[in-house]
Symmetry: C2
Subunit: 258 residues, 2 copies
């Protein structure tokens, strides 16, 4: 097996470019993963490894899992600690890195189930955290509209692998999608901290629903609000203008799913 | 008024040291703030400004608020854009920086009210986000045990100024505090994702309560769990082992306060 010791190796440069550039990820239909937790989670979830990089130390520490990946991956490379440090975006690298083929779990709409739409989430850590919460609470799928890239390394890290299991749909016309789903009998709700929004605890989430959570600074966009049947608010008491997107999303999904 | 144009000015070095070092902050009983939102929020909340640094551009953009701070602060310094870039921890500085005297709003226990205890939260962004959520949902105070510094710039940024308004108590013996409050008639609950924990929706939060949220990786520490009357869990459906601390905290506080 080839051992890479040069931090300027072409493969290493390509890995870093995939980590840094969402357009390059899209063009190649690939993304990068780092760390034991995410790499092994990808393996368990049946993701297809395009390349796998690991240090001697990582193989000693995680022998069983590393061998399992080696068995299933054509392009595997042993790397030096220096190269691992170069690839790593954390202070103390675990020495495990993968390039994975992009694959979303397709979202097949069921008008009796519950979905979250994210409108303009721009912080990858928020996108990841919201996805993790959605999966943990059993949300049936995630609809993404004008959001940052789910394959951003920070999004993947915060997601704790939720994207491996959570059905995802991308749309470039969320207002139209919401209107169509309303016609099919689903409830459509925009989470908006307005005085004339309904208290979220008073809404009936017992049938199919799509709830929209908006951008960190500007909230749900006006065209999306206009397309929704209802506006819902989380009642608040403090002087803070609002909860952050991840906390607001957690409470909204909790009320929707429980 | 003195204008600072050198990035190696002693005052600038001291500001950076205060931003970087929690022990230096503690020793000086000071902390740093950056940006319009936090500086003006501190002003509104009656925080005492020890020093204030601003660019010409910031004064033009925020004339009224900057003049208000200038009126109330002895040590004010005009700084060049280069110095602002040096002080800033963000990509695009707003050119406003302050050194503020440490002051917590004392937490006066009322056995009828609702409090959150944080046990070992280590990520400043999580500490800030949990505080922001606590304030927004009307939690009556925050008890901190083995947590990172609330005056860490990342914590302050994520808090959106919650620490200016939320009563805070530090304890170095949370188990003892919990036992004492239980004797006084309060409910004490540890948020623990165990199979034998009670469903959080089934708990009666109608009287005074302290709910403990644990460390990002290890959860609530065993001695704290032992000291609590109950363990509560957020029922989950996904394969993710748990929600992240900020999302779990949001749901726990929401159930406690609504």
């Amino acid at each position: 097996m080839e051992k890479i010791t040069s931090r300027t190796n072409e493969k290493i440069k390509r890995f870093l470019k995939l980590s840094a550039s969402s357009s390059f990820r899209r063009e190649q239909s690939l993304y990068t993963l780092e760390g034991a937790r995410l790499c092994f989670d990808a393996l368990l979830s049946g993701e297809e490894f395009s390349e796998f990089y690991f240090t001697e130390r990582a193989r000693e520490k995680f022998t069983r899992q590393v061998d399992e990946i080696l068995k299933n991956t054509q392009n595997c490379f042993l790397i030096s600690e220096e190269v691992a440090d170069k690839l790593s975006s954390t202070a103390s690298s675990q020495g495990l890195f993968a390039i994975i083929k992009q694959r979303q779990i397709p979202l097949a709409f069921d008008t009796q189930l519950c979905y979250i739409a994210l409108d303009g989430i721009q912080d990858p850590a928020n996108l990841g955290a919201l996805s993790r919460t959605a999966e943990a609470l059993g949300v049936n799928g995630l609809i993404l509209y004008n959001c940052c890239d789910i394959y951003n390394p920070k999004a993947l890290r915060a997601s704790m692998g939720a994207f491996f299991r959570l059905p995802v749909m991308f749309t470039d016309d969320l207002p139209l999608l919401l209107k169509n789903k309303a016609i099919e009998g689903m409830l459509t709700v925009a989470a908006v901290p307005d005085r004339d929004s309904e208290d979220i605890t008073k809404l009936d989430f017992s049938s199919g629903v799509i709830t929209v959570i908006g951008n960190e600074g500007n909230g749900v966009s006006q065209s999306v609000i206009n397309a929704c049947m209802k506006k819902a608010v989380i009642p608040m008491k403090g002087r803070a203008e609002s909860l952050n997107a991840a906390a607001a999303g957690a409470i909204v999904m909790w009320e929707m799913m429980k």
